[in-house]
Amino acid sequence: MVSVKSILAGILLLIPFIAYFAIPTYNKVEPDLGGLPFFYWYQTLWLAISTILFSIAALLLARR
């Protein structure tokens, strides 16, 4: 009943949750970016990654 496409889309939507919940993986200063600790720029970078993942998920879900 649940299609493969929806499962794939669900996984794509879930990935940022895993990335952000793994706080110890990014709660550090080094490597910094122009003086900005890793903690800040890594989480911001994940916004860009989220956009890509969500867009693929939207394409998968839209084609039904």
């Binding site: 952000y20 200063v29 903690f39 916004l47």
Partner: protein, 505 residues
């Protein structure tokens, strides 16, 4: 304070804003006597406009002021706004297209319309609607608090600054109420695009210019280290990790339960376009992340820092802008933040008035005509704006902030009926009502026993501080599930008025 050139630019752009607001009534013209035409722009907004409209919800004057000022004062914990932005759109992707489909098929204007039919309970629907209104009002008040910070910075040093700022706010709100009345959500969408262009100009200029001129983050962090502050800025203290994830998770669950977010989503013209614009919204969050970092960057700019330490963290971004930019450019940017309060205030007031008219007043007086319903909603949206304005004038802004924190806890308690209701009709309406009551009471209790007077929505648990909305939601879900199990054991079965077909395409 802002020089004359800045004030002229500010006023000139505000006139453009007013024009766009009124022009909205003539744009993609529809019969504005119907609630979905006035309150949802006729469900005719495409990918780009929904993106701007939803972005306007996230990027409010209050966000612009509150996130950086919290980061400035309390450090890294307030960067939770960034994961929150990403996760909230994942949740929106899972819920809003479904809600959009059922709303189009059955003519719903609010989430409470859906709950009423799904669980066949007007009482549960009215409770959900009232929760939405109660949570929305302080949110509108906070927009005004944000706008006041802009005016305060512009008028710094002028003798009767308080009076000038109150008159400016009243004039702005009369104009806003007038064009919301005539144009509805169309006016908000058009002015939203204008506001976002100004905001993006601000974000990009500040993040390029300040690091070049003032040595940027390296400089800011060494100033923070030299100042020996009690909060941690470089990373998160270990004892705040649970607070961090529960804040970003709880806020992400809450955002699309707020009436204005649902209103914005339902205004889309097509399910797929709604999904595309939702998927692209984390890009907006990158701007928010940069603005949040202004709260740290302020430590690198001595002129701005002296203003902020004298007048408070709320001025972090306005002070950073006026002390690093030429007057004319600062005028553009401050107007961006100022109308960044007006546009969301309009969307929020429209959403709250839709709820009151549809799910409370119409329940009491079912004979109301569609035209009477819309006229009433237009007037109520105006009244709501002026109530918020009066509230901000009469009580200290800390009350508005506290009420908004409580509002976040309350709105989260509508999740089982609204979000889970989209996926299952298993729940019993009375169990959901009991769960809602449990969440509301426990959340309010936690907020009043620990949150006040600290102005925090965190609550101490054996594992550390945790966002009270999440704790209350868990209790709410437990009661909803156990209640439904008992109800079905006693033979009660939920009669849903929505068929499985209504939820598909």
């Amino acid at each position: 304070m802002l020089g004359l050139a800045g004030i002229i630019v500010f006023i000139a752009l505000f006139i453009v804003f007013i024009f766009l607001g009124f022009y909205g009534a003539f744009w993609r013209k529809g019969n504005l006597d119907l609630l979905h035409e006035w309150g949802l722009a006729g469900r005719r907004l495409g990918t780009v406009l929904v993106w701007f409209l939803m972005g306007a919800d996230l990027y409010t004057a209050y966000t612009f002021i509150a996130v950086p000022s919290s980061l400035y004062a309390k450090g890294a914990i307030y960067f939770f706004a960034v994961p929150y932005v990403s996760l909230t759109f994942a949740i929106a992707m899972l819920t809003m297209p479904k809600l959009w489909i059922v709303s189009r098929n059955r003519g719903y204007v609010t989430a409470a319309d859906f709950v009423k039919d799904r669980f066949n309970s007007s009482i549960l629907a009215a409770l959900i609607a009232l929760t939405g209104v109660v949570a929305e009002l302080p949110y509108i008040a906070l927009q005004i608090v944000g706008m006041k910070s802009v005016l305060q910075m512009m008028l710094l040093g002028i003798g009767n600054a308080a009076l000038v700022s109150e008159i400016s706010l009243i004039v702005s709100f009369i104009i806003l109420a007038a064009f919301t009345y005539t144009s509805g959500l169309r006016g908000a969408a058009l002015t939203g695009v204008f506001k976002d262009i100004l905001i993006w100009i601000t974000v990009i200029s500040v993040i390029v210019i300040v690091p070049l001129q003032y040595g940027g983050f390296t400089h800011a962090f060494s100033a923070i280290n030299a100042a020996n502050l009690s909060a941690r800025y470089d990373t998160l203290p270990n004892n705040l990790q649970i607070a961090y994830w529960s804040l970003f998770l709880g806020s992400a669950l809450a955002l699309y339960l707020y009436p204005h977010s649902i209103n914005g989503s339902l205004s889309a013209d097509d399910k797929n376009r709604l999904m595309y614009s939702t998927a692209l919204l984390p890009i907006y969050g990158i701007g928010l992340a940069i603005i949040a970092l202004f709260g740290i960057l302020v430590y690198a700019v001595p002129n701005a820092l002296s203003v902020v330490s004298k007048y408070g963290g709320a001025l972090a971004v306005p002070a950073l802008i006026t002390s690093t930019m030429p007057d004319w450019a600062a005028g553009i940017m401050l107007l961006g933040i100022f109308v960044g309060g007006l546009v969301p205030a309009a969307i929020m007031a429209i959403a709250a008035s839709n709820l009151l008219v549809r799910n409370v007043i119409k329940e009491v007086n079912p004979s109301i005509t569609p035209k009477g319903e819309t006229t009433l909603a237009k007037w109520i949206s105006a009244v709501i704006k002026f109530l918020a304005l009066a509230f901000v004038f009469l009580v200290p802004s800390t009350y508005a902030i506290n009420l908004q924190l409580l509002g976040g806890i309350l709105i989260t308690q509508t999740l089982p009926a609204v979000f889970l209701g989209l996926y299952t009709k298993w729940f019993n309406p009375w169990a959901l009502t009991a769960g809602w009551a449990t969440g509301i009471i426990s959340g309010t209790y936690m907020f009043f026993t620990f949150g006040l007077p600290r102005a925090t929505s965190l609550y101490p648990t054996p594992f550390g501080l945790m966002y009270a909305a999440v704790i209350a939601l868990v209790l709410n879900l437990v009661v909803s599930v156990i209640g439904t199990l008992i109800a079905s054991a006693l033979g009660f079965k939920t009669k849903s008025n929505i068929s499985a077909e209504d939820l598909k395409r």
